[in-house]
Subunit: 417 residues, 2 copies
């Protein structure tokens, strides 16, 4: 494969995670060491930064401050939810991107995101190829949803899972403190896949956490839910339930839609905006079972930005994904996403592989039905065996004056080109 | 003072904290070492455990498992919200307590709670005294609300404040990631006093955290709120606001009551609005300012049980409060609550003192108005100087398999007498 020399752009897209910046660092540190790369640019707010020619020059960044992004949550370069037009219908976006790439002699492009971002990445790769512009295009996965296809798991999931399991332990201790009869419903992110909600089951290994867990993979029946909660209430008085925001009934209607107007907000991708489900379900159970107390808790943004309790396994792997993306691109690969493979054996290991961008773009991986119990309200040991290795190890976060010393993203963003 | 020998009961009451068990441990470990104490009992679910003769024998507890309660959140002995009858009107409760004390030869009674619990404690002390029953009665403070009178600060506050400040840093990084215009409202506990919400201001020292902070100490004007948010929105696009759950208008009406009325429970489009104060205020600001996005986040139970991010200063001081209570009682003190004093000087120090139970029972300490800025939407440096020492140091939590290894309270509770 020919040696390609030029500048590099990296961008971040979609909902942030606690470790998405570790992936950027892995890619950027490898690039800064390489003689194939002349300049390392960050695209401010993802592909919008390319379209608007808003880049920052990471080559000039203080290495010590840059290194702090490893443990800094949220996307330090800024994120976006921009749906790139299909160039066969409208090539305005892709032409603009090509112009900017030519302006900066960009030969390496990395996009750090979920399945929508891999779609963006795939379109750019195809357009550049069709126009004979030599540029290596690579996707670096991230998502707390853990729903990307063709990878054992996703960077960002382990840390969100560790937060969810730990918080479920703490909340279940608190929620049961009066012993007088209560139902507490915890609402966890996941529109279509229940991976993150399932992580609440890891707390069961410590004898704590939710008594009942409902995922989008199993049709939700509100009468069964009331019966399940009622049985647990009879037995133990205080009941903790975890639900995915995206639980649906057998007709594919969101349970959240039972409690609100059907015309809900949608984001740029047409995804329905969720919220309010936990309180509604707790109230519903209370009305039917006459529990003494009820409470709904939405983990909200906290579950995806809690860098203070990130999994060190996840941080390491997120960094490794970024570095592997650069190394593969430098070696001649393009139009690929870095994926994780888990070799068999008694000890957990994680290796990087490459998969075609087109195969992951817009695809979704759900939790296998056989990892959910027959009643559809709990997880099996197979899931625990899968997920537990991903939350191992505590973060080596730097503290200053009692608070995390995160990287100051505004310092990066002000170093405009 | 005569030497008093007999058994000891300790109970916990009110909303739990991340360090309430450290106080129990401080008291119990001192008692187990003392020859004044024959048996150490835990009252299960506070004073209800005494009334119902439900005690556990902590003398027989495995010291290693007991030591783990230092870092275990929620009240390991179980809590209650029982309002003890005034014995001048109805002495049933107090007589029953005296009977149980006589049955177990209880000569030391410790109650670990907030201002309601100090009222309970004070009544018991007065009744025993009136009946000539020799028993040393001591209150051990705890509350994330930090609103107890006659003490510099309260055990449990520092840890909740550390959680709030850290989470505000993380959330503000996340909430501003798209840079497209949003308002995020964070709802923090505190019905009458704004101490905990004020802790969100500590994040400002790291250049992060809420742009605007509203406390119950200053009457809330919703028009001013919209104006404040609008100005910040114009300036920076993404705005993060922290509010105490108990903010009230100049007529003392809760702002949350503005939105609970069914006629106001719908937005401009007639959609039913879900959720509490945070979501309602975010929606209200959105309707007026036409922000692109809005979001409400309630910290809920998470802020009072997040032992994984407890302040080690708070843990040490909570333990010290429990030990000081026992040592004072053994030395002959009674009818007192342990309080904290902060001697002047350049380096923070904390000493225990004793105050009369009757003086703290049902009293509330609010944030001084001069620690809040003139506009009533932010904190002064004086508050930061007060609060910052309380969140210093990270917990030495024991981890097992990627999750906290908390004490198993059921093991304590099953060792019934």
């Amino acid at each position: 494969m020919e040696k390609l020399k030029g500048s590099l752009i990296i961008g971040q897209s979609g909902g942030p995670t606690a470790t998405i910046n570790a992936s950027v660092l892995g890619c950027v540190e490898a690039a800064l060491r390489s003689d194939s790369v002349t300049k390392v640019y960050g695209a401010i707010h993802g592909i919008e930064g390319v379209l608007n020619d808003r880049l920052c020059d990471l080559t000039r960044e203080d290495p010590a401050e840059l290194a702090r992004i490893r443990n800094t949550p949220s996307a330090v370069l800024g994120s976006c939810r921009y749906k790139l037009a299909d160039f066969l219908t409208d090539d305005t976006d892709c032409r603009r991107i090509l112009d900017v790439f030519k302006k900066y002699d960009v030969r390496y492009f990395f996009y750090n995101g979920g399945n929508d971002s891999m779609d963006t990445c795939s379109k750019i790769s195809a357009f550049l190829d069709r126009n004979g512009y030599a540029c290596r295009v690579m996707g670096i996965p991230k998502t707390i949803d853990n729903d990307l296809a063709l990878t054992d798991h996703c960077p960002g999931y382990g840390s969100a899972a560790k937060y969810v399991a730990t918080t479920c332990m703490e909340v279940s201790l608190d929620a049961k403190v009066y012993g007088r009869g209560s139902v507490t419903v915890l609402e966890i992110m996941g529109r279509n896949a229940g991976w993150l909600t399932a992580a609440s089951a890891l707390a069961r290994g410590q004898g704590l956490g939710p008594d009942l867990i409902y995922l989008p993979e199993v049709p939700f029946d509100i009468a069964d839910f009331v019966e399940d909660v009622g049985r647990a209430y009879e037995r133990q008085r205080d009941v903790v339930v975890a639900v995915s925001e995206g639980i649906r009934d057998k007709n594919d209607a969101y349970i959240s839609s039972y409690f609100s107007d059907t015309s809900r907000d949608r984001d740029a991708f047409g995804h329905v905006q969720m919220g309010g489900l936990a309180v509604s379900l707790a109230n519903f159970a209370h009305t039917k079972i006459k529990t003494k107390a009820r409470r709904g808790i939405e983990f909200s943004l906290l579950q995806r930005c809690a860098a203070h309790i990130a999994s060190s396994t996840d941080i390491e792997e997120s960094y490794m994904a970024g570095r592997a993306a650069f190394e593969a691109a430098e070696a001649g690969e393009s139009d690929k996403m870095v994926a994780f493979a888990r070799p068999g054996g008694p000890v957990y290991r994680c290796e990087t592989t490459l998969v075609d961008l087109a195969d992951v773009a817009n695809a979704e991986k759900k939790l296998p039905r056989e990892w959910i119990n027959a009643a559809g309200n709990g997880l099996s040991q197979a899931f625990v065996d899968y997920a537990l290795p991903l939350i191992q190890g505590e973060t080596a976060l730097e503290w200053a004056g009692g608070l995390p010393r995160f990287a100051r993203p505004e310092r990066l963003l002000t170093r405009d080109v």
